[in-house]
């Protein structure tokens, strides 16, 4: 006998279920199940994984959802095993989310019984598209739990009236203590009620665990769900909500019928369960169109004839004269033939349409990803990159052998992403488009916080512990306690507690490990847009996204390909917005319009800047690691940038490709090619295998396989179980093609060690374009470029470091001024006439720099500018008193102070605002006459301001700025520590390059970046960058340095460190730290 579980929650029922769909399907299969349902709470989040896992285990999938019905409790809704059934389920789930929102204070999803009834009834009145199971959490079940039999029967009759044959009673016992909720008696009462009302009963186990051992995890989730601790939260009665095997379920059926007075026996209950399961069996391909690509109809984008013909026409138009080059012509025909075979012409036309929409909005747009490998993509104007010029291979993107759907990514200005999304919805119709979602899963810090909350630990203690945790998998917490120096103190505390008989920290570690990777909440994916045909919303449930007014699918990135959804990645890239802002500022101030696609790609000032490693703010090459690599690599050409970007990736770095390449580049090691046939392939990287494209060509050349097959082999290199087969094939075929054993051995060694870790050159080329563009702008228009960076903060560094960089470049940073600052960072012509060699433009700090100012206040200030007095600001811009005071404190009101006094009167001004604010609060506000202009009276209020208080000192000014704004714009935060620093004998960043290698130094600064990149050795190295006001100090902490520094490694903001100078290239120097302190600790 088998048993089908009809009510199963996976971990996608967030803060409820504990097992992944894959675990559940595997367990069901192991117990001999023929079918398995997944019915997550409020959604189908795990549906695609469930279908895939069931297919893998030879189990038939059933799908449903556990939904709240307004006023009637929670019920299990199961889809009938048909396309109509699945569609009704998707629509019902979407309906339950109508009226919710993606923000924190959203009402819980629920639907009315009337709405549910609409989806239940099919086209024919007799057939049900959905079945509704009334279990322990339904109104019927709640009444039965309270032994209110009559109420239970009345409730059930109402359900029958509303939904007819679709209604089932769901019997559940978790074998709770006699008489309690989820006890066998509870189920027996339900059975009696069902019999009285002539409603069929089915048995489920309301599963939320794969095995009983997961129950402690579920307890923690129960507590966290209600933001409470284990002592006070309502918890599950015990650990019995697990996926029990058939014999145990049969026994449960027997126990229920034994206790019940009903005439129904166990066999009848189990038969009814099996019959309902049979009616719900889904055929994913037929009922969910699982696996078939869903593309917008060609007619939507205005194509009347065949999509193939249209695509050809547009490509030919796009390529124009270049078609006469035989190579171009051949490549186009090759790509078009593959696209036609796969039926993807409509997809390419759709992406082209989207790219046109974006450029039509005047938004910067750049293609990214392997799609850049396609000449068709280039010809359609989606990507400016000519794949032939860089040796990019179409098969890396799409081939007859590639079973995945094509994926073209577009980078757009981040600030305008939502505008683009709305345009796409408008253009294709809301029924064909939805955003994609993503599940945020527990990681170490979140897991620790929630485990701590469940244990009832004080919030401050949890916060302190969470701050020490640095990027390791939560499930390895206990291991990390032993190996990570920053956790040493915690480990000691844990041992001390254990000795004294307390266990809270031990439990904290265990529970944190248990939460690892469980989904926490769903969010809008940062870039995925799903495009389909008019049936899209029949195939995916949707709910409100974080983008106002637009829905998102309940499915995520990994669901797209197996299910056959086509997604377009439209990624908001802040660098594109920064570049756009820069270009606008150049045009606004000089009238010059720059076409970045037309700039010289061998520009000397640009490469000089890159080689100087002063690349802060440049796309992709600003991190400490990249600056070091750029310093060693010394790029001369655009191709060098491509190599640089490819090398600075986890794969190539982890596989140790960097060193051999650099050794050969600087001629410390001779360049050798193992075989003349490989020379043209490996020439561009001096014989080192770096690019995926090179691996493809090597396979192709040495075995005679096609490029499509070669890409399959390349992907196989990272799948452990395929390597042996690939090696056999490679050795046999290469020998057949006349390669010597020695060459085969060596090349295979390189392929195996490097092949799966390399980087796709197409990606690197796509990255290199904005890298070069940003460097070009920094070299030629530094002020406008820095304004763009300030405005959109695109990189890894905080604004305060970018301001320091502007200062270093000699660009005047103009302080916030209520009469001149706006909501944006703008260039402003300096009032003093510049002398030769001095800049004519400064950057005016934006009002947004003030931490607590509101968008409405900024709008009012912008609208009413200029102001002639403090009173004028108060009357017309009506800022909140706190904002006005903050403006005074940071000097934004200095211009109203008597000529020449400036900041020396700031304290008086602040005191006056505070005093007069209090007086005003006591009086009724003066009547405002609409349209009345403020009289340009002399500012008597300010001119008569009594001079009482001394002006702020330099350090006061800076600490005020640090407190009220995001940046220390008038000086450097380091000056707050002057006394401490003067005594320390520091070496500043600007002097580090002059130090000899091995010299001992002491450095200090504010932390601006922390990184732990993958290392060849596998050992963790922590890189911390400090800004000391003269530049960046890059610190590296190896084992000893980490151990000596301990807990503050990842927590201290102001750091002082000792170490030795390590020179790694002509412009590259790091300090290998032996220990570091928290400067705020020392000063205390």
């Amino acid at each position: 006998m088998t048993f089908t579980h009809l009510h199963v929650a996976s971990s996608f029922s967030s803060h409820y279920g504990t097992a992944t769909p894959a675990e559940l399907a595997a367990a069901a299969a192991a117990s001999g199940a023929e079918a398995l349902a997944l019915t997550d709470r409020d959604g189908l989040y795990g549906a695609i994984q469930h279908v895939a896992a069931c297919a893998e285990h030879g189990v038939t999938p059933l799908l449903g959802a556990d939904l709240a019905v307004a006023g009637y409790g929670r019920v299990t809704v199961l889809a009938h095993g048909s396309a109509d059934g699945y569609t009704a389920l998707c629509r019902a789930v979407s309906a339950a989310h109508r009226g919710t929102s993606a923000t924190g204070s959203s009402p819980d999803p629920q639907l009315s019984r009337e709405t549910l009834a609409q989806y239940v009834r099919g086209a024919q009145a007799s057939s049900c598209r959905l079945f509704v199971l009334l279990g322990p959490e339904s109104d019927v079940g709640l009444a039965a739990a309270a032994r209110r039999y009559r109420a239970a029967r009345t409730a059930l009759r109402q359900w029958r009236q509303a939904l007819g044959e679709a209604v089932y009673v769901e019997l559940v016992t978790h074998l709770a203590p006699p008489g309690e909720r989820l006890s066998t008696a509870h189920a027996a009462r339900m059975l009696s009620v069902a019999e009285t009302c002539r409603t069929p009963s089915v048995l489920t186990n309301a599963v939320r665990l794969c095995a009983a051992e997961q129950a402690a995890t579920a307890d923690v989730l129960d507590a966290v769900r209600v933001l409470s601790d284990l002592n006070s939260a309502p918890l599950q009665p015990n650990d019995q909500g697990w996926l029990k095997p058939p014999d145990q379920m049969r026994r449960i059926a027997e126990e229920i019928s034994a206790v019940s007075t009903s005439s129904a026996n166990a066999a009848q209950i189990l038969t009814a369960t099996a019959e309902l399961a049979a009616a719900c069996r889904l055929n994913p391909a037929q009922h969910m169109s699982y696996g078939s690509p869903k593309i917008p109809e060609a007619s939507v984008i205005g194509v009347q004839g065949s999509a193939e013909a249209e695509l050809r026409l547009r490509c030919e138009q796009g390529l124009g004269e270049r078609l006469e080059e035989p190579e171009v012509h051949r490549r186009l025909e090759h790509e078009l033939a593959i696209i036609a075979d796969l039926g993807f012409a409509g997809y390419f036309l759709t992406v082209a349409e989207v790219a046109d929409l974006i450029t039509g909005l005047g938004v910067r747009c750049a293609a990214r990803g392997s799609g850049v490998s396609s000449l068709v993509v280039h010809a359609l104007g989606i990507s400016p990159i000519d794949p032939l010029a860089h040796g990019l291979i179409f098969e890396r993107f799409l081939s007859r052998q590639r079973t995945t759907l094509p994926d073209i990514d577009l980078d757009v200005e981040s600030a305008r992403r939502h505008e683009i999304y709305r345009k796409i919805f408008e253009r294709f119709g809301a029924q064909r488009v939805t955003l994609m979602s993503m599940q945020n899963a527990y990681r170490i810090r979140g897991a620790l916080r929630d485990a701590g909350m469940a244990l009832g630990m004080p919030a401050e203690e949890i916060d302190q512990l969470a701050d020490i945790m640095w990027r390791f998998p939560a499930c390895e917490f206990r291991q990390a306690l032993e190996s990570k120096p920053e956790l040493k103190q915690l480990a000691e505390r844990l041992n001390a507690e254990r000795l004294s008989g307390r266990a809270q920290l031990d439990l904290l570690v265990d529970l944190t490990e248990r939460l690892d990777r469980l989904p926490r909440h769903i969010a809008t994916h940062p870039c995925g847009v799903i495009l389909g045909d008019k049936n899209l919303l029949n195939l995916t449930p949707v709910q409100p996204s974080g983008v106002t007014g637009l829905p998102m699918s309940q499915f995520g990135k990994d669901d797209m390909d197996p299910a056959g959804f086509i997604k377009l990645d439209i990624l908001g890239v802040r660098m594109q917005s920064a570049i756009a802002h820069c270009l606008e500022e150049v045009e606004r101030t000089t009238g010059q319009r720059i076409d970045l696609d037309a700039i010289d790609d061998e520009d000397k000032p640009t490469f000089d800047l890159i080689r100087s490693t002063n690349t802060l703010g440049c796309f992709q090459i600003e991190s400490p690691g990249q600056r070091e690599l750029v310093g060693k690599l010394v790029p001369q050409t655009f191709e060098d940038l491509i190599v640089d970007i490819s090398l600075f990736r986890p794969g190539p770095m982890g596989a140790g490709m960097v060193r051999p390449y650099l050794e050969r580049r600087h001629e410390f090691e001779p360049v050798r090619y193992l075989h003349p046939s490989l020379t043209p392939i490996l020439e561009e990287t001096l014989g080192v295998v770096i690019y995926h494209e090179q691996v493809l060509r090597i396979f192709c050349t040495m075995t005679g396989c096609g490029l499509d097959e070669a890409d399959g082999l390349r992907r196989g290199l990272s799948e452990g179980d395929r390597i042996a087969g690939i090696e056999r094939f490679f050795r046999a075929e290469a020998a057949e093609h006349g390669y010597s054993q020695e060459v085969i051995d060596e090349i295979w060694r390189q392929l195996v060690s490097f092949g799966s870790f390399g980087f796709c050159k197409a990606h690197a080329v796509a990255f290199a374009v904005p890298t070069y563009q940003s460097a070009w702008l920094k070299a030629h228009h530094p002020a406008a470029f820095m304004a763009g960076l300030f405005e959109h903060d695109p990189g890894m560094y905080p604004l305060r470091l970018l301001v320091a960089e502007a200062r270093r470049l000699g660009i005047p940073v103009l302080p916030m001024d209520v009469n001149r600052s706006t909501g944006h960072y703008r260039l402003e012509e300096l009032t003093t006439t510049p002398q030769a060699g001095q800049p004519a433009w400064g950057i005016r700090m934006a009002l947004t720099t003030l931490k607590k100012i509101s968008a409405a206040e900024i709008r009012r200030i912008e609208r009413e500018q200029p102001f002639d007095s403090l009173a004028d600001v108060r009357d017309r811009a009506t800022p909140r008193s706190s904002t006005l005071k903050a403006l005074a404190q940071v000097g934004a009101l200095d211009s109203f102070l008597p000529e020449g006094t400036g900041r020396h009167r700031r304290h008086d001004l602040y005191a006056w605002i505070e005093r007069s604010g209090r007086l005003r609060a006591k009086q009724p506000p003066p009547p405002q006459v609409h349209g009345q202009l403020a009289l340009p009276l002399a500012d008597t209020e300010i001119s008569q301001l009594p001079a009482v208080l001394p002006g702020p000192t330099d350090t006061e000014v800076i600490s005020t700025e640090m407190a009220l704004t995001t940046v220390d714009s008038s000086g450097h935060v380091m000056s707050l520590y002057r006394e401490q620093l003067d005594a320390a004998g520091l070496t500043y960043a600007e002097k580090l390059l002059q130090q000899r290698s091995g010299a001992l130094v002491r450095v200090a600064g504010i932390r601006v970046a922390t990184q732990t990149p993958p290392m060849v050795s596998g050992k963790r190295v922590v890189f911390i960058s400090l800004d000391d006001g003269t530049g960046l100090v890059d610190l590296s902490f190896f084992e000893e340095g980490q151990a000596n520094t301990g807990e503050i490694l990842f927590t201290a903001r102001m750091i002082m460190a000792e170490g030795t100078i390590r020179r790694t290239g002509p412009r590259a120097v790091t300090v290998q730290a032996t220990r570091a302190w928290d400067m705020d600790d020392v000063s205390r």
Partner: protein
């Protein structure tokens, strides 16, 4: 009336293939289990009672409890007792002795 929890003591229980008690050894005397036993799983406050809660630990959250009627084969006197099974060690303890045999709930 039941004994307080503090007075639990170790017993030996013989079970059938389904884990259902059929025989009980208590203070060196053997008892037969008569009548249909009732079982349930009772929650444990494991975060207070236990020092560890690592993944995979069995019997952390709940304890299996059987309410059984036992008969002394020599005297034929019957009593109702609750016995609990503890995992992972798989040990049994006598939890309560009922003076008045508890009747199962009548379901209307």
């Amino acid at each position: 009336m039941t004994l307080t929890a503090g007075l639990t003591e170790a017993v030996e229980v013989v079970t059938d293939d389904h884990g259902c008690p059929v025989h009980l050894w208590w203070q060196n005397r053997g008892y037969d289990v008569v009548a249909e036993p009732v079982r349930w799983f009772a929650r444990r406050r494991w975060w207070i009672e236990e020092a560890r809660a690592e993944r995979g630990r069995a019997g952390l959250v709940a304890q299996e409890i059987w309410r059984i009627q036992i008969q002394d084969p020599q005297t034929a006197s019957r009593s109702t007792v609750d016995v609990g099974r503890s995992l992972p060690a798989d040990r049994w303890r006598l939890l309560r002795i009922h003076e008045v045999p508890a009747e199962p709930e009548e379901v209307e």
